[in-house]
Each structure stands twice: as structure tokens, then as C-alpha cells.
């Protein structure tokens, strides 16, 4: 048997994979073989490390060296220098932006310092396609101890005491949900894992399934034991091919090892998991719509009650939990409720995984204790705003959430504080915006999304959102009036109050929240026909400063629509009726003669 002295971990998350991490892995294997080191160096594909901004990531242990932005070409150098001679390849190490020091230990990076990784505990550490590595990390031990040493009531008590709340966004206490499903009457019950992650910019659930699928499988089995179900279903969108593949591999291995199937660990408990694929409709993340979709019906929501815990899949009591919620369960059982509830705030316990995106330096996946402030997330972990620009707002909770402005930077983040601040936790997407983002356009973008995703069953959502979108379109084109702003707010409130399901009820949130926080931007669009951020193209006005223009003809030659005219070495002009505001003249001009108003 090979006796490995060195492990090379290559990130195999979707992000790094799209930057050729598979080629990197193969190159490593090739060079290691060529050097005759195949019995000494083990190449491992892992899940997401989280530091997607610096991907593809390669980590070498036991040297604890974290290489960033590795390309397939760098592999030769790493092999020659590091694997053979033990010299770190300096130009691939992370450089601390503040001190300019090179950091090779991930723990020394600001990005990781404030994180506590519970749900992501194995992501970027184990090979997700190898069940033994999960078992080595005490995997399936929680299931084992539940089945052989505890009663379902005892396990539910632990989950209740831990204070774990649903990580899909609703924040419903998980233990209570399990208890309700347990008490519900039915000859058959189901456990469903909601992996229909739909918020734009969110990739927490995908990363967990890709990086540590067994943690979800184990937790579903524990849930089955508690609620009295012998069947689990994972509803996952078909557009997550890698997560599906890893999950299938994992389920197959768990069956092979007897950790799924009949008479698990000789305790007489049966549990099996199947996958159900979603077509990627946003509304199917709503549990009633999700269940209908699994039944082969249209993915449309129905009124609650009855809650799925009473009457869900095929009319049977069904316990629906989100991926991240499940990923927390095995750790809670092993370390105890007291340990888990010592992390976080009074009413929100534990940690939360966030997907950081937008105009922020360190785009990636992070897990922080509840109660961490936005400032810590954005400036310490996220490394601040791109290109040193000014922070404007952060959008949380996806299309159902809202914007948090500067004044909320120091609010400790938990379910209740975010609601108070006019947004919501949501599934954990965080999109950071700076002064170059127009908030009216942002509201329009999210509305466009809900417009696409509305199932059309109820009128307020189907038609109301369409009208909202039209008004926003009018405003961003410079044709809005003050009355439009009034109508926006009124219509938004009507949609909120009268829509059937969560999608409609929350769809106007981005509009309302931007109206509340950024009224000045709306007014600038309406009164002055100007976009302060310069994002609304139709409101831009390009002109040429005659005094600065040297007549070099560069703008004239690059204008795609022939809107610029003028004599060589003489001042040029822009014909406003032809200009499509593409901005090429502004970019090309070497003398700063093109003005934007």
C-alpha cells in the first residue's frame, strides 16, 4: 500500500473546476508519476475551499501551504520546487493586501480568521467521493449513536435545545418541525431535502453537496429516525450537475457500506434516499410547490395550512429541511446542544454560510457565527470594496430580501435583526453594491427575475409585478414622474398583501427597500432625468469638450454607429439622435475630452 508523505488537495468545486482545476489535478498526477513519487504524494480532489476569488486553490499538507490562482502551467513548477525540493513557490502564495506579506497558512488570512466552519467543516478537506474520508472525520458516528443509544424524542430534544433554525431563509426552529412531523398521523412519512437553491448569486447549498454530500445523507437518516420515516428525497435542480453526481456517488457508497438501506447498523432501522430533479424554477424552493413538483404536478404553491408536516408528499406527513440545516445536524448531535447554542446570538444560534458576491474584493463562500456584523463580513473577510470605491448597500435574501445601507453596517446579523432592518436572512446570498450601482436598476433587475419566475397562478403576482416592472422601466428610461413613485409604493404593498405564496408576497421587497433607503436616487431619475451612478444608459449624455479635443479621430473611428463627426485635427461632435450611449468614445479618448453627464 502506498504510504503517502504528502497530500495535495485540489479544489473540485464548480468555481475552480470551471477554471480548469481538473486539468491541474491531472497534471499533478502526471508529474508526480514521472518523478516516481506516486507512492509518496497523494492527489486529492476536494470540495470548495470558499476562497473562490483566488481560485483555483491548491493546498499542500503537511506543509500547510495554500496556493492561489493556480493554472495548469504552474503545476510543473510546484512539483519540481515544492513536492521534490520542499521549496514554496512564492509567486503563487497569497499576498496580504494590507501588509503585502506572503501568507502560506490559510489561518493567517483575513478571509479565514473570523470564520467558524460547521456546515462547511469538511469542504476543502476531504474527498467528497470517498466515504471513508467522511467516516474518518467522525462521519456517520452521529447516526450510529442516535440509532443505538438514543430515542427519537431524545434526539429531537437535542435539536430543539441547540436552537437550530431553518437555514433556507424562513428561520423556523428545526427541532420543532421534526416534533410536529413526528406527532403527525400517517402510516408513511417522508424526509425531504430542499436543494432547490434559486437566489441569484447564492451557492451555499451547492457547495455543501459538492464538498460534503455525506453530511446531508447522514442528517436525513437521523431525521428519518426521529420523525418515523424510511424514505428520504432530495429535490435538486438539474442545473447542478456536479452536485447531483457527487450526491449519487455518495448515496451509492452509503448503500454499499450499509449506512443506507435496510437494518442500518443492525438496529432494524430502514432508510433510503432518492433524488428528484427540478427544472430550476425559483418557486419550487417554496415547500408546497416543491412537493407538487416532486409528485409530478405543476410546481405551483398551495395555501398553508395544511403544512407539509401534516400533509405533504403524496398527502403524507413530510419534513422539509434545507441542505445547510441538515449539514449542521451531525455536528450538533456529536458536540451537543450546549456547544452549538454557545455560538451565535440570543435567538439565532450557530453559524450561517453566506455567498459573498458583487463588487467585493474576496468573492467566495464564508461561514460566520450569527451576530457577526456586516462590517466584519465586508471589510475584514471580504477585503473591502473593489477598486477602493465607496460602499453603498448590500442585498441580502435574494429577490425576496432587501438592501441594507451604511447605517446597518454595525448591526449584528441574525434572523430577527435583518427583518427589523427591512431585509431578511434568506438562504444566504450577499450581493455587495458600491457607488457605481444604480439602485433603481437593481430593483428592476430583481423584479425581472421574479417576473420570469412567477408561476402565474395568482393575479397580484402575475400582473402586479409586470406593472411594477413597467414603471421601473419608465423611470430608468427617464420618463418617470413623481406620481409613478406613488404608484410604485401602492402597487408594491397590494402585491405584498394579496399574493398567494411567499414568492409574490416578497417580490416587491427590493422595490420597497430601495424606495425607503434610496429615495434620492429615484428622485434624481424622475426630477432631473439623471442617474447618479451613471448606470442607466438611456439617461446618459455624451458630449465632446471642444477645447480638449485634438481631432485625433480615434473616437470617430471607433464609434459603432457613426454618431461622431468632425474634421481631422479639428474638434469633433456627437450627434445625440444617433448616439447609443455605448461609451466607446469615452474609453478610447486619450485626452479626457469626452464628457458624461
Amino acid at each position: 500500500m502506498a504510504d503517502y508523505k504528502m497530500h495535495v488537495l485540489v479544489c473540485g468545486g464548480t468555481g475552480c473546476k470551471s477554471s480548469e482545476s481538473e486539468v491541474i489535478r491531472n497534471n499533478f498526477q502526471k508529474y508526480v508519476n514521472e518523478h516516481g513519487l506516486s507512492n509518496e504524494v497523494q492527489i486529492v480532489t476536494t470540495g470548495c475551499f470558499g476562497f473562490c476569488e483566488k481560485g483555483p486553490i491548491v493546498k499542500i499538507l503537511p506543509d500547510n501551504t495554500f496556493y492561489t490562482r493556480v493554472t495548469p502551467k504552474d503545476v510543473w513548477e510546484i512539483t519540481e520546487e515544492h513536492l521534490v525540493k520542499g521549496r514554496k513557490v512564492k509567486h503563487l502564495l497569497y499576498k496580504d493586501p494590507k501588509s503585502e506579506h506572503l501568507v502560506s497558512d490559510a489561518k493567517g488570512m483575513d478571509f479565514y480568521k473570523k470564520q467558524i466552519r460547521i456546515a462547511l467543516r469538511n469542504c476543502g478537506f476531504i474527498n467528497p467521493e470517498n466515504i471513508e474520508e467522511y467516516i474518518a472525520r467522525d462521519g456517520y458516528a452521529a447516526l450510529g449513536s442516535c440509532l443505538s443509544e438514543k430515542t427519537p424524542e431524545e434526539v429531537i430534544r437535542v435539536i430543539k435545545d441547540s436552537g437550530l433554525r431553518g437555514r433556507g431563509g424562513g428561520g423556523f426552529p428545526t427541532g420543532l418541525k421534526w416534533e410536529i412531523t413526528r406527532k403527525a398521523e400517517g402510516n408513511r412519512k417522508y424526509v425531504v431535502c430542499n436543494a432547490d437553491e434559486g437566489d441569484p448569486g447564492a451557492f451555499m447549498d451547492r457547495s455543501i453537496l459538492e464538498g460534503d454530500p455525506h453530511s446531508v445523507i447522514e442528517a436525513m437518516a437521523i431525521c428519518g429516525f426521529c420523525v418515523g420515516a424510511d424514505k428520504g428525497l432530495v429535490y435538486i435542480r438539474a442545473e447542478y450537475p456536479l452536485a447531483i453526481e457527487r450526491l449519487r456517488t455518495a448515496i451509492g457508497q452509503a448503500k454499499e457500506y450499509g449506512l443506507l438501506g435496510t437494518d442500518i447498523l443492525g438496529t432494524g432501522f430502514d432508510f433510503d434516499i432518492e433524488l428528484r430533479y427540478g427544472a430550476g424554477a425559483f418557486v419550487c424552493g417554496e415547500e408546497t410547490a416543491l412537493i407538487h413538483s416532486m409528485e409530478g404536478k405543476r410546481g405551483e404553491p398551495t395555501v398553508k395550512p395544511p403544512f407539509p408536516a401534516e400533509s405533504g408528499y403524496l398527502g403524507k406527513p413530510t419534513n422539509v429541511n434545507n441542505v445547510e440545516t441538515f449539514a449542521n445536524i451531525p455536528v450538533i448531535i456529536q458536540k451537543g446542544a450546549a456547544w452549538f447554542s454557545s455560538i451565535g446570538t440570543e435567538k439565532s444560534k450557530g453559524t450561517k454560510v453566506f455567498a459573498l458576491a458583487g463588487n467585493i474584493n474576496n468573492v467566495g463562500l464564508i461561514e460566520v457565527p450569527m451576530g457577526t456584523t456586516l462590517r466584519e463580513i465586508i471589510y475584514d473577510i471580504g477585503g473591502g470594496i473593489k477598486d477602493g470605491r465607496e460602499f453603498k448597500a448590500v442585498q441580502t435574501g435574494g429577490p425576496s430580501g432587501g438592501c441594507l445601507t451604511k447605517e446597518f453596517l454595525d448591526v449584528p446579523i441574525d434572523y430577527d435583526n435583518l427583518l427589523k432592518a427591512g431585509s431578511m436572512m434568506g438562504s444566504g446570498g450577499m450581493i455587495v453594491m458600491d457607488e457605481s450601482n444604480c439602485m433603481v436598476s437593481i430593483a428592476r433587475f430583481y423584479l425581472e427575475f421574479t417576473l420570469d419566475e412567477s408561476c402565474g397562478k395568482c393575479t397580484p403576482c402575475r400582473i402586479g409585478n409586470k406593472r411594477l416592472h413597467e414603471i421601473l422601466d419608465k423611470i430608468t428610461s427617464g420618463n418617470g414622474t413623481r406620481e409613478d413613485l406613488e404608484r410604485l409604493r401602492m402597487l408594491a404593498n397590494v402585491i405584498k398583501d394579496t399574493s398567494l405564496c411567499g414568492l409574490g408576497q416578497t417580490s416587491p421587497n427590493p422595490v420597497l427597500s430601495t424606495l425607503d433607503n434610496f429615495m434620492d436616487e429615484y428622485l434624481a431619475h424622475v426630477d432631473e432625468h439623471k442617474c447618479p451612478a451613471g448606470q442607466c444608459k438611456k439617461l446618459l449624455h455624451y458630449s465632446i469638450d471642444e477645447e480638449k479635443c485634438t481631432g485625433c479621430t480615434l473616437c470617430f473611428r471607433n464609434c459603432p454607429v457613426g454618431a461622431i463627426s468632425g474634421e481631422k485635427r479639428g474638434p469633433h461632435y456627437i450627434d445625440q439622435s444617433l448616439c447609443i450611449k455605448c461609451g466607446v468614445c469615452f474609453e478610447k479618448c486619450k485626452f479626457g475630452a469626452v464628457l458624461i453627464r
Partner: protein
């Protein structure tokens, strides 16, 4: 693969699998363990650093001592290869020269297990740019 039938089976597999990823777990926390860096530049390898490193890894494993053994570049003591740097948590690192199997065994027996210094220490006579 035979099915796991009992909790004891699961624990057995866990222990076996843990040995396979031990290196990763320990590598994450190098400050807490005995750490040995073996100088493995051309001069070191030519003088037998590879054998020394393999011996150290096997012997520590065999004796059940948790330690992290890594390779490093040339430390500059080419006259005394193979050289190793031994760090014991909470203590200043010590550099040994001419570490063949015999001296490696002595270092494990005396220095790592009992904290006694062994012959062959090279005094550190340089400063790094970090200091």
C-alpha cells in the same frame, strides 16, 4: 466491501481511515505538534536526506509519536547535510547536522522523547528579514 453491521465496525473503519488523513489533520495545526523540517535541496538529497526523512516518518509513526515531517529547501549548511530543523511546541527550533539514521534515532529517543539535546547542533548564526 462488506457492509457495516455494528457501531463497532463503523469505529474500526473510522480508525483505519483516520490514519490515512492524519497527515492532513496534523498539517492544519503544525504549531501544536513536534515538527521536523528536512533540508531537501540537491546537496541534502545527495547526502541521503531522503532516507533520513523516510526513516523519521516511519520511526515516529512506529512509536506512535504525533509529528509533522516536511521537506524544505536548502538551509545553507551544505557541509553538514543532511540537516534537519526540529521544533518542539513552545520551544525554539534547533538545527541538527549530519543526520543519518543513527543520529535520527538518537534525536527521537533523547530530544523528542526526553527533551535532552543531542550532539550535532548547528548554532543559528543568521537573521531573517522578518526579524
Amino acid at each position: 466491501m462488506a457492509k457495516i453491521k455494528t457501531l463497532a465496525d463503523l469505529k474500526k473503519i473510522r480508525d483505519e481511515a483516520q490514519a490515512k488523513i492524519k497527515l492532513r489533520v496534523q498539517g492544519e495545526e503544525p504549531g501544536k505538534l513536534v515538527q521536523i523540517k528536512v533540508s531537501m535541496a540537491t546537496c541534502g538529497i545527495a547526502s541521503g536526506a531522503k532516507e533520513t526523512m523516510n526513516y523519521l516518518i516511519e520511526e515516529l509513526e512506529h512509536q506512535g509519536i504525533d509529528a509533522v515531517v516536511t521537506q524544505t529547501g536548502c538551509m545553507g549548511y551544505c557541509f553538514a547535510e543532511p540537516t534537519i530543523e526540529l521544533s518542539i511546541p513552545g520551544k525554539e527550533p534547533v538545527i541538527y547536522g549530519h543526520v543519518g539514521k543513527e543520529r535520527a534515532r538518537e534525536i527521537i529517543e533523547k530530544h523528542i522523547k526526553r527533551g535532552e539535546l543531542v550532539d550535532g547542533i548547528i548554532p543559528v548564526n543568521y537573521k531573517t528579514i522578518d526579524e
